[in-house]
Symmetry: C2
Subunit: 669 residues, 2 copies
């Protein structure tokens, strides 16, 4: 409930909305039950005074921020313990608190214990034997030990097979001897590794009986459980300040002849016997599963980033007045400048479409991983390809969208009190971790090119790529009538043609004598372009199917709004790739103008509900943490309040004046 009266411009926007935001809020939360759970969790966590900040954390030094973050992380941990004891925890709670909005309301620069919950525990569950789970899991669940997941090294992130950390099995003592043989072998980046975790799953190259066996995960104790001092042979610390995720305590780790018992290797998939005999994994497919799982989750996170940023910018744009349109009229809300609408509304639409797609692909993941468990791997490559390109597209678009929103707030967006800098830092990080975006697109493209070859051979393709066969059979796209359905179809046609070109270019290079891999590298930019279009065609298709389906289930008022969202999304997406459309489909200058006028028209129809749409994302003021985006819209007051907290302003004259400035100014007097 807002403490101050709501800004009248915002109030006006809310009172003229054509739909009931609560209806959409409930949908967005995943149903009435989830909505209530969300509210209850918010109450439990956000009203706890111990979890509130007096001083905006942007004023803290790196060291202070770490200490601050650890304090809060422990309070959250304690609350999670209580919830578990009461049987009230669950995946959604963990998601909300560790990756989601609620967590970011408490620790907006990230939680140094997060990796313990989201990587250390799950890795033991996924890769430990039953015995190992018994040994480690209860300690880990109870946080008697704190772990992290140490994979990336200073010298290697993308190319895991290049990792240098090695574990040599010593049968005489039944121990592994783990080493980082060079500086570039140092583990680098794992969250919480710096000063927080006392254990880690360390990924290393396994050698037994003097032979190389491939990568394996080892549980390594890093710090003494009482004193927290680094164990012998462990060189450990925090990697330093970063663009974002500033509270996560990303760390480095050097290991020098660190010995761990045989049983510390996680052995569900592969085993080392006491004598050093190596038993290889049956199936390397399972590791794909976790990666897909994480990527699907990330797609939803990108939707959340866009929801936050667009809420802030849209509310601000309803309150900010600047630059008369008609010189005889007063200054309008900046949201009435058409250029401003084109900055904001597509981000709102994207938030909705990414969320919908994220949910859809989540369900698809569950279906497919059920199939996989029953030994049916048919849809794995398809799903893998899709999750890769969607992760890349959604994170890149979300990061760009956050910046567009920030810039749309003029100078004030540049202040930390807008919260845009933090949101950007969190969002752009997704472009790099869990598979660097270019690498992701190349993985998808590799699949597409293979599938294209199959299609040429007349093989039947799986659902998400079947449009490629269609396009091969239909060399010309006919009847682009501008309907939403035809935009979706056209997207697929264009995507298929991008894949065709990538395929043809690789073939051409091969005929010129290059090997397949070298040819593929030469054609890298053709490949990434094809993967980009594949993902965008899927997004268009999903938006079309899901939003139309949804609009049949909701009130007519909300249905109308969703249709505008869909149309705006599709027309904007099409115009953003208009070069590809014009390249493969016969469109005239007038057709394009028509689409552009239609975009303008979509913006106009979107305008009356813009504020209520972002309201219905139902983001708590603490989640937004933005002077520009608060629910009450008292923008200037909030900016001023935040400025008053600035430690520099606690004294009228800063000490540096006497020390430096005065002597300098008076030097010549």
């Amino acid at each position: 409930m807002p403490a101050k009266p709501v800004n009248p411009d915002l109030q006006k926007e809310r009172s003229t909305a054509t739909f009931n935001p609560r209806e959409f809020s409930v949908l967005w939360a995943g149903g009435e039950e989830r909505f209530k759970e969300k509210k209850a969790l918010e109450k439990l966590f956000l009203e706890d005074p111990a979890l509130q900040d007096d001083l905006p954390i942007s004023y803290l030094s790196h060291k202070e921020l770490y200490e601050h973050s650890l304090r809060k992380a422990c309070i959250i941990g304690e609350k999670i313990r209580k919830l578990r004891a009461d049987g009230e925890d669950g995946v959604d709670t963990y998601n909300a608190l560790l990756g989601g909005s609620l967590g970011s309301a408490i620790l907006k620069e990230g939680n140094p214990l997060a990796l313990h919950y989201v990587m250390f525990v799950p890795t033991i569950m996924g890769q430990g034997t039953m015995d190992q789970q018994v040994e480690w899991l209860s300690k880990a669940w109870d946080c008697e030990i704190i772990g992290t997941y140490a994979q990336t090294e200073l010298g290697h992130g993308t190319f895991l097979r290049g990792l240098e950390t090695r574990a040599d099995y010593d049968a005489s003592t039944q121990e592994f001897v783990i080493n980082t043989p060079s500086l570039s072998a140092y583990k680098w980046w794992p969250g919480g590794l710096g000063h927080t975790a006392n254990h880690a799953v360390v990924v290393a190259q396994l050698y037994t009986k003097g032979e190389f066996r491939g990568l394996a995960p080892f549980i390594v104790q890093l710090r003494d459980s009482d004193t927290h001092r680094p164990m012998p042979g462990i060189d450990i610390g925090d990697i330093g300040t970063k663009l974002g995720m500033k509270g996560v305590n990303n760390g480095y780790l050097g290991l020098k002849n660190v010995r761990v018992p045989l049983n510390n290797m996680l052995m569900k998939n592969q085993q080392v016997l006491p004598d050093g005999t190596y038993v290889a994994p049956k199936n390397s497919v399972l590791t794909y599963g976790t990666m897909m799982f994480v990527r699907c989750a990330l797609i939803r996170d990108t939707a959340q980033s866009l929801a936050k940023a667009s809420t802030i910018a849209t509310r601000y744009s309803a309150v900010r007045r600047q630059s008369p349109i008609d010189p005889n009229q007063p200054e309008p809300q900046i949201m009435d400048h058409t250029t401003q609408q084109l900055k904001l509304f597509p981000q709102i639409a994207k938030a909705i479409v990414f969320k919908t797609t994220g949910d859809g692909i989540w369900n698809m993941y569950n279906v497919i991983s059920g199939e996989i468990e029953q030994g049916n791997l048919d849809r794995l490559p398809e799903m893998h390809a899709l999750s890769c390109c969607l992760k890349a597209i959604c994170s890149a678009d979300a990061a760009a969208g956050v910046e567009t929103c920030r810039l749309s707030c003029g100078g004030h967006g540049y202040m930390d009190c807008s919260n845009f800098p933090t949101i950007y830092g969190m969002t752009t990080a997704v472009c790099t971790y869990e598979g660097e975006n270019t690498v992701m697109l190349l993985q998808t493209a590799r699949y597409l090119v293979k599938v294209y070859g199959q299609a040429l051979n007349g093989e039947k393709l799986v659902p998400t790529v079947s449009y490629i066969s269609d396009a091969i059979n239909q060399t010309k796209f006919v009847n682009f009538d501008g309907s939403l359905r035809s935009i979706v179809k056209a997207f697929q046609f264009v995507a298929a043609n991008k894949t065709r070109i990538a395929y043809e270019q690789i073939e051409l290079r091969r005929k010129q004598g290059y090997g397949t891999e070298v040819a593929a590298n030469l054609c890298g930019t053709f490949l990434t372009a094809a993967a980009d279009l594949h993902g965008r065609a899927f997004l268009a298709q999903t938006a079309y199917t899901e939003l139309l389906a949804l609009s049949r289930e909701v009130s007519p008022e909300l249905a109308e709004v969703l249709k505008v969202v869909l149309e705006l999304y599709l027309v904007d997406a099409c115009l953003n790739r208009i070069g590809d459309f014009l390249r493969f489909i016969d469109l005239t200058d007038q057709d394009v103008t028509k689409l552009e006028v239609r975009l303008e028209n979509c913006l106009k129809r979107f305008r009356p509900n813009a504020v209520s749409l972002v309201d219905s994302f139902d983001l708590h003021d603490r989640v937004l943490d933005s002077a520009l985006g608060a629910y009450d819209g008292n923008v200037y007051e909030h900016i001023f309040e935040s400025t008053k907290k600035n430690p520099l302003n606690k004294e009228p004259v800063n000490g540096a004046f006497h020390k430096y400035l005065k002597p300098f100014m008076k030097a010549h007097l």
Copy 2:
């Protein structure tokens, strides 16, 4: 001179370059003399131990950073004093130290005294009468007083006429009474205003004899010259932490019945007589001059940002090895992945083209401002239009380019020790200040649409827009043969058509009954698109003319390299707007593929000289301040060194373990 041996991969790149980087360095610096001056200044400033940091500033709190910045700013100020005393100061020195690279090597988050030199002093020079200059300038030059320029308010940045700060003339005391009548009237943003300046030029709405007269600048004393305490009626402080420019001490200012003498209004252009009679300015054109001047300078700054970012990313990409291309070969330098080349090389080319264009437009500015001083205003609107859109395009492209470079370094680009976060903060700020980019594009577009109407009437157009008449007379673009010249011509044709469409759309809306201004707003996105293409056509044309001219003056080896730069720039620029090309020019799918293959080919030809090209930007290691971009390429060592400076790593166990983590972990034991 590098202390450590240069990384062999970098060494190899340098030894295989086909041109002499020094030749280009000298050109880049503006000739042999300038090059030497630059080196001398670097020596004078960068070898001074007082200007070196032990601790990377990212570890400082906001308050500490301010104090640190002020200390160094005073040392720089003292050195400038000495240079002046020796007659060795000059525009270039000020540029280098306050806006340029050298300054950023010392104070990379900006200088709290910068606005004193670049805005306060010049405003007095430009807008003060001779008497006023005598009164204020020597004090200001000697830094006996420190000033800033306070224009933007919490409620108004873009729309200056909306400023609320007012100055009422009181003839009885011959004083102005200055007030910020509301919170939104508070001055907000001026650099150095927070705790540094003791004077400011305050822009306010002038009222004399009870009548409104428009905006006027007033010199206001903010703080006591001895104690530095705020003067009566002055509410002042630092606005708080920001995305970037963290050391600039941007401030806020409230004024309550602050009285300043009549003579404190700067009266070169307009006057108030003692009795309150107002004498209006003859010509409001002069203020355009300063704005154009600043924008032209900003274009060069964006080139510098790109030069920095691309140097860091290119060197890193020569040293970093990741992901075998051919599975039987070792991991390549990542610069050998074609997708990586497409991230890096266009940024290098853009740096060169923006610099060339910046220099060109600087000369044009000087010619035109000479004409203006002789009363000839003919080319003012043209120049204004050009400076607006180029400021917008170059800043937006540079900011995006910096991020592309950062992302191209994978995870390590995300660390502050890469220096990308700071470079981005500085660069993206340019999108907002000195005319918000969208507003800039709309100003250009307004001019273009007007000119289009003139062209339709058969009037002769000025040089930079004459291509519009050409396009009107030639409705179809013929003979796109892919030559560089035809790409430039095509850019102009496309730009003219974008203007045509904007013009037609506005006319259409007017026929539908909208007033001109409302119609223009509705067509906002058509207008910005037209301005964008106008600027890009100009960049293409300038790149073509200037780089070809240059390549006739230099050694054949360098000439070859410059031609590759030019071709890469043009082909890439064309493909980035390929939708517009396809829309207005008859190109087939095969034509586009040809361009794409050509792009790949340009990258390949660029590759051998990439490192030497960025070397020849000749950016001192202190300017780059990047563990990833140092000249010696010892990337991992530099990262590790920077991490060792992290205050968190000074103690093996952080205090927060005992305070928070241990009690939490042991709670259940």
